[in-house]
């Protein structure tokens, strides 16, 4: 019996995204998160006396140039070498674009699969055969698995592959293939990479995406880590996911339905965060708070959305230093009352009707979007890389914020005048 570790998409030194620094934010906790996760991986391999470690692509971010990252990786691999644990890896779409992987010479225990043709490594002592082919270029649209050799008889066959399989939402389609195609090779285990969500695609044979080693933004939520596989008599005896991340992402939906005032909404935020903190198992949490529902406090929330963010951060600080980082507070509340205002033939009713008409008018939206061209030119393109930031020159995105603009205007125009 022996065990091996399967990880992928380490994205070493890829920074955590979307975390705006504020007073009391756990800044030091996020530092070097991907590195610490990799250290955790090595620690786990040593502690479990893994027979070998598989890395199924995307060690580095493609556009990341700092060679130190590669050297850190090499140092960690050396730790495995000292423990007598070999490492087998192949390059993914990011690695193919990376300058680091082109120059770096890893230590002797690291074996990198060829990018030209499928390679097979046979480990006689363990009765294991490993098959793999890396990405030669950043965009591989061929089915690499198709050319993989059939299973070596009387061996435990593992296929390493960086692939989007038959398509996974949010992931570019690379080295497309099908479960049936993989199954036809007769391997016992397919160690896949590229998809950032943990997923056991199939149990016969085992086809596994271990997911990223460390979540890096609000769309990579929940526990992250590697997959520990136990093999007995050339069959998979157990597959366990081990959490290795040091920093956890979560989206925390809070139903503010019916909440009368800010205090009550904050109470609900606190309760929701409490659950998430408990689930994070001691790790620092990055929480996106989404407040939803129809509530009388809606107007109050909107009129002072900045103060509101501060309040949520204060709640987060209540969980102790370094426990929670409020990534973003999104207000999706509704006012319970505005419906009838449309009908009134007064200035306010007119305003609301105009906004509603605008929502339906592509031309006007496009003109409004045009007005933000100045701003857009000033902004760095990286801001829009992940689609998270609001691109004001995109009419569709503007349409999406009109509701909030309406609420903002209502809140301000109907606010009691100062001193009244």
């Amino acid at each position: 019996m022996f065990k091996f570790l399967h990880a992928a998409d380490v994205h070493l030194d890829s920074p955590l995204r979307g975390l705006e620094r504020y007073e009391g934010a756990p800044v030091s906790e996020i530092r070097g998160a991907t590195r610490r996760a990799l250290e955790n991986l090595v620690d786990l391999a040593v502690a479990e006396e893994a027979a070998f470690v598989l890395l199924a692509g995307d060690l580095y971010d493609g556009d990341w140039k700092d060679y130190n990252t590669g050297l850190f990786f090499a140092a960690q691999m050396r730790r495995l070498e000292e423990a007598g644990i070999p490492v087998f890896l192949l390059s993914g779409n990011h690695d193919a674009a990376s300058q680091i992987s082109r120059v770096l010479r890893p230590p002797g225990n690291v074996r990198v699969f060829s990018t030209k043709r499928p390679e097979t490594v046979v480990l006689d002592e363990l009765e294991v055969a490993l098959h793999g082919q890396g990405f030669a270029s950043a965009a591989v649209s061929d089915d690499l698995a198709a050319l993989y050799p059939p299973a070596v008889p009387h061996r435990f066959n593992v296929g390493l592959l960086h692939t989007s399989l038959d398509g996974r939402p949010g992931h570019a389609s690379y080295a497309p293939c099908t479960v049936d195609g993989l199954r036809s090779k007769g391997y016992q285990y397919w160690a896949l990479g590229h998809v950032h969500e943990r997923e056991v695609v199939c149990r016969d044979p085992w086809i596994v995406f271990p997911g990223v080693l460390q979540g890096r933004h609000a769309r990579e939520t929940g526990p992250k880590g590697a997959t520990l596989v136990t093999v007995q008599d050339r069959e998979v005896a157990a597959v366990e996911h081990r959490d290795l991340d040091v920093f956890r992402w979560t989206v925390c939906a809070v139903d503010a339905g019916g909440a009368g005032d800010l205090g009550e909404v904050l109470d609900r935020v606190r309760r929701a965060l409490e659950r998430e903190v408990a689930a994070a198992d001691g790790r620092t949490l990055a929480a996106r708070i989404v407040i939803e529902g129809a509530c009388p406090a809606h107007g109050e929330l909107l009129a002072s959305s900045e103060r509101w963010v501060q309040e949520c951060r204060a709640v987060a600080l209540g969980f102790g230093e370094g426990a929670v980082w409020i990534e973003k507070v999104r207000l999706r509340t509704r006012s319970p009352e505005t419906a009838d205002l449309f009908a009134a033939d007064d200035a306010l009713g007119g305003l609301l009707r105009s906004l509603r008409d605008l929502e339906a008018s592509d031309g006007e939206l496009a003109a409004l979007a045009e007005g933000f061209a100045d701003l857009r030119r000033k902004l760095p393109p990286e801001l829009f890389a992940d689609g998270e930031a609001l691109d004001p020159t995109d009419p569709e995105r503007l349409r999406g914020v009109l509701d909030e603009v309406k609420d903002l205007l209502l809140a301000r125009l109907l606010a009691a005048p100062e001193g009244a």
Binding site: L16, R21, R31, Y67, N68, V103, L104, L341, P392, L409
Partner: protein
């Protein structure tokens, strides 16, 4: 809606105060309350009535929160009246005024059109402050028309502030050409971070370059190290030479001297010692020879003088023997006289003892009694036996008596014991009962189990549900098999699933339908949407009217009746004109609102389609329901044989069926339990009968208690008792038999003892016969006699023994004397007559003297022989030594002994030289550090000894210089190595990247906020402009009229003009035509201008909506009387369209209002 009465039942300072506001068509109600009368409270109460209490109310100083009540009576738009109370609370705050039961608030929502308090207050309320603020706002807007109109339309007095804050906040976030705003700042911060990132990033090539440079420097250092090693080797060589030169010179001298001494015989190192030893030994041999010759001559002279007595020595042995016998001879003389005395004594003692024992008897007669003494041993033995035999007889007699009495006692005990009974049959019955187990317990246990199990079964059966009956019936209940039930379950589940999906679709469709309806309703609310059909209908009606007119006018017919049907209120021409107008109006609207018309058409079509779908879904659902009920009834039929009304299959199986199955199994178990109990009872009865019979047979009582155990216990007790009795009887019989045996043995012993004593008496008489004593003499008497006889006999025998020894002594003495005399006659005749012992001593002394002379001559002869040998030995040694000396001379090559020492000296010198040479060469080898001697010699030949130190120093300097360079290089190498190590693997770049991401996050947030704020500002402005364009003309016209009235004609009206930025601005027009900008108006005029705008907007609003009371709070305090009157008139005019409630605490206003005609609909209400 209008308020007919305000009931201040418990609010603020009021208790049970009512305010009547019912007068007039709508009425201008001036509510007068001097200071402290609660004017403000009443105003608040009015709002509370309509919108409920706020969370915190200041009006609880008299009445606590739960007592606060405000009531009112409203006249609704549909003409109905409603009275209600308002209490403070979070829900059900609208109560019936009679019994305070909760009322449905729907009527309020309807008449307020969903307006919330904030909105109502801005639109339907105005107070002094708002008026002044509105006027000021006009000034600050510089009369900008759009803002003025929009602000008035909104009732807002801070529109400008809202616009400013939107702009200000947006600019705080971003300025196209700014640096400070958050976004600008974040963008530059981000650029900075990117730059830092590229600085901090170590490219792979750069790293490899650094590594290679390091490699090159290492090689350089190695080369320098090699150079230094070469120089050091050279320096060592020179230093070696410097040390070797003096040694080489010494060596040369030694070689030269050795050459001179060539040919000298080199003697072995021990040669001088050997030579000295030989010479010494030669001298010693010569001396020894001389000394031994002298001593030999002296000895030979002494031997010649010695003489020896030979006859004495020849008789030496005889003399010795006689000398030894002298002591024996003297002792023999003494012994003979002592023994003669002892013999006489013994004979006297024997005679005396005989006289005492047997007087008259001689010693010889006494000797005749001796044969009797031969039996002495036997006599003594018999004497000893007598006492034991007598005691044995006494003992035997006593034992026999004891045995006799013991036998009598045992017989008595046995005869007194009762008769035996047989316990056998009873014991067998008991064993049989015991083998059957503890029957009573088993029976009780089984009965208890049966009881509880049946009870439990009965209860669980009750719990099974759906079926009730006896447990026995349960086992035969024809429950359908699980597979059948599952099939029903599957069928029903499929149907339910289908039904759910249909319901879902139905819900979706219904929601879509609702949405379509809502949008249609919205369209409708925004004003009725004209339809083609409306137009057709109107045109039809118009044409009908035209036909009537035509008939009336052109054809002159009476159409009176038809005309009244056509329009009952208007004369025909007017009615016709109206239809023409209506038709045109409709046609216009159809064209103008084509979009809405089309939208409505689309929505209607969608609605119809959805309705159709809904109907289809309904019928499908009905079909599914029918199928479901069919299967359900089949399901029920399935269970009918069981008499069960079944639950749904999923609940029946496996839940119910498994419960049923369990219960059935348990019913079976209960039945088994009952059978077992019956069996146990039968067995118990049989055993009891058997035991009772056995007991009775033995004559024992049978216990009357129920059950087997008591009888069993009693039986066991009886068996035990009978067995004890039998054992006791057997033991008594044994005792009697034993006593009888002991008695017969005692009798036999007694007879034997008696016989033994008689035999002894006979033997005794036989033994003492011949002693002259009677046969009955006692052993003690016999003993005494025998003892005396024995002692007499002994004394006599001793005296005879001594006489024989005296005769022997006499023979020995005579033989000694004869021998001495014979010898003395030969050797010493002068001593022949002296006592023999003295003569023997003298002879012995002569022998001693002769022996001493013979010993001395023998010693001298032995010494002479030894000296002769010594002389011979010394001579042979001398010859040998002389030969060896000659040999040594030959070895050294000398003619005589004197040359030997010179040869030895020269040999020693040569040896010394050679040793020195050897030392030199070893030193050179050492100094030369392994170089061969010849090489060293050659090197030394070409060297200038004086130049050596200089050369060495030069080399030292060169080495030092290179070592310094190497040190520097190594230091640099270490530094770079550390630097590389420090840089590599570090996360500085990663940290910068993290910071850059933080900046991006800030930027993202900023952009988010900026876009919203900017859009809000932009859209608000756009709307203001739109509102102006749409409403400017009618509103300004009406506001102008009002303004003219309010300013008592000081202004004739309002117009728009353009300021220097070409924006439309408001101007007042004086009666003569000059225009006055807002900035040019007095504060009062501006207030009136604002009031005029507000009232004009309100009128416009009221033209299309249900009226709501307009609440005015003391706005006229700054107006003079004339203008106050004008304002009252304007408000009274407004009161024709909607109810106006004016709160004031000014007496003057009250009077002026009171002075106005009631017909104008003005009413004064006092609070105080």
């Amino acid at each position: 809606m209008r308020l007919l009465e305000l009931d201040l039942r418990a609010f603020g300072p009021f208790t049970g105060r009512r305010l009547d506001l019912s007068g007039g068509e709508h009425g201008l109600h001036v509510v007068f309350g001097p200071n402290e009368a609660g004017k403000s409270s009443a105003l608040r109460a009015l709002k509370v009535l309509l919108f409920g209490f706020p969370l915190r109310s200041p009006d609880d100083f008299l009445h606590s929160y739960d007592q606060l009540r405000v009531g009112g009576r409203l006249l609704l738009g549909d003409g109905s009246e409603v009275s209600f109370l308002r209490r403070k609370g979070s829900k059900s705050t609208v109560l019936s005024p009679e019994d305070e039961s909760p009322l449905d608030e729907g009527f309020l929502d309807r008449c307020l059109q969903g307006m919330e308090e904030r909105h109502f207050s801005t639109l339907f309320g105005i107070d002094h402050e708002a008026l002044v603020a509105g006027g000021r706002e006009l000034l600050e807007q510089h009369g900008e028309v759009g803002q003025a109109l929009f602000a008035a339309g909104l009732g807002s007095r801070s529109l400008r502030k809202v616009l400013e804050s939107l702009d200000g906040e947006a600019e705080g976030l971003f300025l196209p050409r700014g640096a400070k705003p958050l976004i600008n700042q974040a963008v530059s911060e981000y650029r900075e971070a990117r730059r830092e990132l590229s600085d901090a990033s170590l490219s792979g090539r750069e790293f490899e370059g650094l590594r290679k440079e390091l490699e090159r420097m290492r090689e350089q250092a190695d080369a320098l190290g090699g150079e230094i090693a070469g120089l050091e080797r050279e320096r060592n060589r020179l230093q070696r030479l410097r040390r070797a030169l003096p040694v080489l010179a010494e060596r040369r001298r030694l070689v030269e001297r050795l050459g001179e001494l060539e040919g000298v015989v080199v003697l072995p190192p021990d040669f001088p010692d050997r030579r000295r030893k030989v010479q010494e030994e030669l001298r010693k041999a010569r001396e020894d020879r001389d000394r031994a010759g002298v001593e030999l001559a002296g000895l030979q002279r002494e031997v010649a003088t010695l003489t020896v007595a030979a006859p004495v020595l020849a008789q030496a042995e005889t003399i010795e023997r006689l000398h030894q016998g002298v002591g024996q001879f003297t002792k023999g003389l003494n012994d003979r006289s002592r023994l003669l005395g002892e013999s006489g004594e013994l004979r006297a003692q024997a005679s005396e003892l005989l006289e005492e024992t047997r007087p008259g008897l001689t010693l010889e007669e006494a000797e005749a009694l001796r044969p009797a003494l031969d039996r002495w041993v036997r006599i003594q033995e018999l004497g000893n036996q007598r006492q034991a035999l007598v005691s044995g007889l006494e003992q035997a007699r006593r034992l026999a008596d004891e045995a006799e009495s013991a036998l009598a006692a045992a017989q008595e005990a046995r005869d007194g014991y009762p008769k035996p009974r047989d316990p056998g049959p009873l014991r067998r019955s008991v064993e049989a009962a015991r083998r059957a187990g503890s029957l009573d317990d088993l029976r009780a246990e089984a009965a208890a189990s049966l009881r509880t199990d049946s009870e439990q079964l009965r209860i669980d059966l009750g719990r099974l549900g759906l079926w009730s009956g006896a447990p026995e019936e349960l086992e035969t209940l024809p429950v359908p098999p699980g597979e059948t039930i599952e099939r029903f379950g599957r069928d029903l589940a499929t149907l339910a699933e289908r039904r759910r999906s249909l319901e879902d679709r139905r819900r979706t469709t219904l929601a879509d339908l609702g949405e379509a309806d809502r949008r249609l309703e919205e369209l409708r609310r925004a004003g009725r949407v004209p339809a083609e059909s409306d137009l057709l209908e109107t045109r039809e009606r118009r044409d009908h009217g035209w036909r009537l007119l035509r008939r009336h006018w052109i054809e002159g017919k009476d159409v009176e009746k038809e005309a009244r049907r056509f329009d009952p209120h208007r004369p025909l021409p007017e009615a016709y004109e109206r239809t023409v107008e209506e038709a045109d109006d409709l046609a216009d609207r159809l064209r103008r609102e084509a979009d809405r018309v089309q939208l409505q058409a689309q929505l209607s079509a969608r609605r119809d389609q959805l309705a159709g779908e809904l109907a289809g879904l309904d019928s499908e659902i009905a079909a599914v329901e029918e199928e479901t009920s069919r299967i359900e009834s089949a399901w029920k039929d399935l269970w009918r044989p069981c008499g069960i009304e079944p639950l749904p299959p999923r609940e029946m199986h496996p839940a119910w069926t498994s419960r049923h199955e369990k219960l059935r199994t348990r019913a079976e178990a209960v039945r088994g339990l009952r059978r077992r109990l019956e069996g146990l009872e039968e067995t118990a009865r049989q055993h009891r009968t058997a035991l009772a019979a056995a007991l009775e047979h033995l004559g024992e009582a049978v216990p009357r208690v129920e059950g087997v155990e008591p009888v069993l216990f009693r039986s066991e007790e009886v068996v035990r008792r009978l067995e004890d009795e039998e054992r006791q009887r057997l033991r008594l019989d044994g005792d009697v038999r034993e006593a009888e045996a002991r008695l017969s043995k005692a009798r036999r012993d007694e007879d034997a003892a008696l016989a033994a004593l008689e035999a002894w008496s006979r033997s005794w008489a036989e033994a003492i016969r011949g002693l002259g004593l009677g046969g009955d003499a006692l052993p003690s008497e016999v003993n005494q006699l025998v003892e005396s006889l024995r002692r007499i006999s002994e004394s006599r025998r001793d005296a005879e023994k001594i006489d024989r020894r005296i005769a022997g002594l006499n023979r020995d003495l005579e033989s000694f004397e004869t021998a001495v005399r014979a010898l003395a006659a030969d050797l010493a005749p002068e001593r022949a007559d002296q006592p023999a012992d003295q003569t023997a001593v003298h002879l012995h002394a002569l022998l001693q003297d002769a022996r001493r002379q013979a010993d001395r001559r023998e010693g001298l002869e032995r010494r002479t022989k030894k000296l002769e040998q010594e002389v011979r030995d010394a001579e042979s040694t001398r010859r040998a030594m002389e030969e060896r000396l000659a040999q040594l001379r030959r070895e050294a090559g000398c003619a005589d002994d004197a040359g030997l020492e010179e040869a030895e000296r020269r040999s020693a010198e040569v040896r010394e030289l050679r040793r020195d040479l050897d030392r030199c060469e070893r030193q050179l080898l050492q100094e030369g550090e392994g170089a061969a001697l010849d090489d060293l010699e050659r090197e030394a030949e070409g060297v200038d000894a004086d130049a050596l130190p200089g050369g060495i120093d030069q080399l030292g300097r060169e080495i030092e210089e290179r070592a310094r360079r190497l040190g520097d290089l190594r230091e640099e190498l270490g530094r770079r190595d550390r630097e590389l190590e420090h840089r590599t693997g570090g996360d500085a770049a990663a940290r910068v990247a993290e910071r850059a991401e933080e900046v991006l996050a800030r930027l993202r947030d900023g952009v988010d906020r900026y876009v919203r704020l900017h859009l809000a500002g932009k859209l608000l402005r756009r709307e203001i402009e739109r509102y102006r364009a749409e409403n400017q003309a009618p509103l300004l016209r009406r506001a102008g009229d009002l303004f003219a009235t309010l300013t008592l004609g000081s202004f004739a009206g309002l117009q728009t003009d353009f300021n220097d930025r070409d924006e439309p601005v408001l101007v007042g027009v004086r009666a003569g035509g000059p225009k006055v900008r807002v900035e040019g108006m007095s504060d009062g005029a501006r207030d009136q201008l604002y009031l005029a705008l507000r009232l004009a907007t309100l009128e416009k609003y009221l033209a299309h909506a249900e009226p709501l009371p307009f609440i005015v709070d003391d706005i006229l305090i700054n107006f003079d009387d004339a203008r106050t009157r004008a304002a009252l008139k304007v408000l009274a005019d407004l009161a024709k369209k909607t109810q106006v409630i004016l709160f004031t605490h000014h007496e003057r206003l009250k009077e002026m209002a009171g002075a106005m005609r009631n017909g104008a609909g003005v009413f004064v209400r006092e609070l105080g």
